[in-house]
């Protein structure tokens, strides 16, 4: 059995392993872990595991990573090998820095993508205010219509629904109350304070509900596999960006691009034109790397008042480990993490791609986004609680 000092050293090593796997382990927690080990049987693997898990894991999603680390840690302790340094180095995930192939092929793809965008642009019936166009009646048919076969002129229906969603978001009101001049309910506490010297309540203080500020961060996959859906998604992003003020929009395929400013403006057509500047269209997908870039550079945009909406089919050519780790870090900060997958509309689709499987346990809501009905359903999930 290890003496406490060895225990502390072992714990520090274990903590480093956990951190390398994305668990936010503090030194305080490691001290608690040592204390916890003092009240269990150190030779009993099951007990050591449960004790460490209770102290060091702080959300269910961290458990798979914890289990992997514990496995290595226990094996190492049992083997009594050559020092903790080796162990820690061995399990540290390698950051795959490989760049996707560049050059001729990519350039060609890019050109093609640009052409595709322009075509669609031409196909649009009218310029101007797509957000305000009155809707037509054949809604039912539209609702079931898959976006991959959506005629451009029907996109106004998408816009209308998106406007509804955005308004709904903006309307969220908190049940917490703040003091107000008039209206609202009587605030007895403040009234008492204000009237203390008078012996009776003359002036009433009131309070009313405070607006809850929700922010939206959209991360949209624009890689080749998403081409069929991109036109709908763009419309969705454009409408959200312009109706609902607090939105930040990013596109990604092999790299991340912030497009909020490009989308802003009264004309959808010129927004589209500006979007063709995004160089990533129709390339491959590296979701994990793109998310890492987002977390590092734009992480401050996400807090508990933020809904993060990821639009992607989950075809990832990067490391699933990286994706899982970045998803975890995103989830830790966001109020709600929603993944919309256009492929989910197909009844025979199973989210079995490696990337999707790694990310799935970490999302709060996983839904289809291939037709209007699925969009309508989404509205119900766009709240922090």
């Amino acid at each position: 059995m290890a003496v406490p000092r060895d225990l502390m050293r072992a714990m520090l090593g274990f903590g480093a392993m956990l951190r390398a796997s994305g668990l936010p382990v503090t030194t305080g927690a490691l001290m608690d872990a040592v204390r916890a080990l003092e009240v269990v049987d150190l030779m009993d693997r099951a007990q050591v595991y449960l004790a460490l898990r209770t102290v060091l894991v702080s959300r269910m999603e961290e458990q798979p990573a914890f289990d992997r680390c514990f496995e290595a840690f226990w094996k190492f302790q049992a083997d009594d090998g050559q020092g903790l340094d080796g162990l820690v180095a061995a399990v540290q995930p390698r950051g795959s820095e490989e760049e996707p192939p560049t050059g001729g092929l990519e350039g060609a793809q890019q050109k093609q993508a640009q052409i595709a965008l322009e075509d669609w642009d031409e196909g649009e019936a009218q310029e101007g205010e797509p957000l305000e166009v009155p809707g037509q009646s054949d809604r039912e048919v539209l609702m079931e219509h898959d976006f991959s076969t959506f005629p451009a002129e029907q996109l106004e229906e998408v816009a209308r629904l998106t406007v509804q969603i955005a308004k709904r978001l903006a309307r969220r009101v908190s049940r917490r109350r703040k003091p107000t001049r008039r209206g609202g309910v009587v605030d007895l506490r403040r009234s008492m304070r204000a009237n203390l010297t008078r012996g009776e309540i003359i002036e009433l203080r009131r309070r009313s509900r405070r607006r809850r500020k929700v922010r939206l961060v959209l991360l949209c996959d624009v890689s080749g596999s998403m081409d069929l859906y991109s036109r709908f998604l763009l419309q969705f992003l454009y409408a959200l960006q312009n109706v609902f003020g607090r939105v930040e929009t990013f596109t990604f395929a092999t790299r991340l691009t912030r497009v909020s400013d490009l989308l802003r403006g009264p004309s959808y057509k010129s927004a589209l034109r500006r979007l063709t500047e995004v160089r990533d269209w129709s390339g491959g997908t590296r979701i994990g790397d793109s998310l890492r870039e987002f977390n590092q550079t734009w992480g401050h945009l996400v807090d508990r008042r933020t809904i993060v909406l990821l639009l992607s089919d989950g075809w990832d050519t990067g490391e699933p480990e990286v994706l899982a780790q970045e998803m975890l870090s995103l989830k830790r900060r966001a109020g709600r993490l929603i993944w919309l997958n256009p492929l989910l509309g197909n009844p025979s689709y199973e989210p079995l791609t490696r990337g999707m499987a790694a990310a799935l346990p970490l999302v709060d809501h996983f839904a289809a986004a291939h037709n209007l009905a699925s969009l309508r359903e989404l509205a119900g999930h766009l709240t922090i609680r």
């Binding site: 936010p24 916890a36 269990v40 007990q47 102290v55 702080s58 959300r59 908190s174 109020g335 609680r385």
Partner: protein, 296 residues
Amino acid sequence: MRAEIKKIEEMMEAAEYVTDPAIAMSVHLAMTLKKPLLIEGHAGVGKTEVAKVMAKMLETNLIRLQCYEGLDAAQALYEWNYPKQLLHIKLEESTSHSLTEKEAAIFSPPFLIKRPLLQAISETGTPPVLLIDEIDRADEEFEAFLLEVLSEFQVTIPEIGTIKATQPPYVILTSNRIRELSDALRRRCLYLWIDFPGFEKEVRIVTRKVPGVNERLAREISRFMETVRTIRLAKVPGVAETLDWAQALTSLHADHLDEELVAETLGCVVKDAEDVKRLKRELATGGIARFVAAQS
């Protein structure tokens, strides 16, 4: 050392709680490390029950704070008794007491209403179990406020002064994950995820909690529930539903499941209209055999 955990398991079982090593371990650590324990899991897996059983086991009071949206410090900590204060001011109108004296009088302990948190802190004798139930329903502002109380176990009331707990209470927090909790709160707590029970555990729970249920029925019910939970439902049924159902079936004097019986009592298992439809469809195609198949 092992013996202590074994003992907790036994005591929990004696207090009518069907436990497992993970739950016993976290209760053991919450007690020895004196740290709050955060319990997460689906609705109806017995999170709140842990706190109740702990109180029973330790023979101490259970103080419960039910969280909801809009809950604020006044409702959780303390509130002045305004009507009583007003009345007092009225009665004092004719006396010659100075304003300071009047103020001191109405902001004193007799006019203080203790809410759960203050109650838990000011309790003398054996430390109580403080249950902060469904913390995810409260706002973040409240969560932040709670951090302060939980780390210091003291409360400052401007008019009276600081009240510090002589012995900190045992704290259990539960969350259904309606909202993500802050890292700051998680860091201060031990953590336990209670999953749906496995087959054997559920059988034990049913036989334990539903008197008169026969062995075969208990096993079939548990097997059925296990299968139901693998179907994608809007509201996955928890142990509470299992027990409701077992209760209903026993009162119908059933000793095994058949198609008709299941159809009649499906409302005990799933409570969502869409889910009922879905489950009926599954039953119609696969038959009941599919649900109780993997034979016990």
